[in-house]
Amino acid sequence: MRTETWRAFGCEVVVGGDVPAAELEAVHDLFVRRDRSFSRFRPDSELNAVNASRASHVVVSEEFASMLARALTAARASDGCVDPTLGQALLSAGYDRDFRQIVPVDVPPGPPVGSALDAVRLSGRLLSRPPGLLLDLNGVVKSDTVDEALGLAPSAAFVSAGGDLAARASVDVALAGGEVVCLRRGGLATSSTERRRWLRAGECRHHLIDPRTGASARSPWLEVSVCARTCLQADVAAKTALLLGPDGPEWLDRHGLPGRLRAGSGTIVRTATWPGQLVPEAACT
């Protein structure tokens, strides 16, 4: 299968299939625009403008409002695990610059900063939140962009960003630990504490903040992969299962979501609907 690749959101974007140049350009422009609007590390991003405003009520762009609405829905659907109000917690943990520029330092991390989800209100394009609250929408922006990009490219078999993908035709996907699955349609995403982690005063920190503690999550799972109808839903579910720790597999099963969880010990747990876990009908008779 032909693929086109470039970098956005600090990761590799892959578009698979025989995709005309006009569709590729539309997808590329979408990623560039989203990166420009929602980056925490671009001084001119709308996210940083909103976060810097001292007003308690701020008018935001339609795109920003739409993305924040998705983030708030994701927060409710994930029982508060995927939380867009943890920007300060990320800074406190040491993720305060483009990841490639982070170096180990002896300074201990700042104090944990908890969720302020209840203080955020969105009415149309009017956002109300306590001044000083740092939003971080990256929990949903990348995967939502993947879904939207697939919609912009009817000829594409799949679109992937950092390995989180949306597909309308079969694509083989490799997972850590050697397993390969074939995504036929829908979304597949992986959340991991093994990537985007750094040392702070000798302690390992990573980008997945647990809203219950306001610090990098302590989970038995190094990596969780989930399949869902869209990349956004898969991504939210993967993050939630990882943050829920031992309760992650049960939470995925309760939602009927196929998931694969890899523990630090090397043990791999698959939910009931993951391929290979389903008992063939013939075997039941």
Partner: protein, 89 residues
């Protein structure tokens, strides 16, 4: 006298009224410019915000997916999968 006072008062008040109106006008103009710069009102009329921002309700957000959405990979030895999903973002 009353009429004179009234007329005089009206004349005296007029600059204040004009100033007040000018202030109000400036405020309205400033507000109009602001709304024009960030077309909140027009956006509200153009497309209902709730519809623009609607997403599945949380209860349906993570609904069950069809189990035939994916299966075991069937790559031949030596073939590389086009995508590696390892939470690298």
């Amino acid at each position: 006298m009353t009429g004179d006072m009234s007329g005089s008062g009206a004349r005296l008040d007029r600059p204040r009224q004009l100033a007040r109106r000018a202030k109000t006008g400036a405020a309205v103009a400033a507000l109009a410019a602001f709304v024009g710069a960030v077309p909140l009102v027009r956006a509200t009329h153009r497309s209902h915000p709730r519809r623009t921002h609607s997403l599945l309700p949380p209860s349906d957000f993570l609904a069950v997916v069809s189990t035939d959405n994916f299966g075991a990979g069937d790559l031949a030895p030596g073939q590389a999968p086009p995508v590696v999903s390892s939470g690298g973002s």
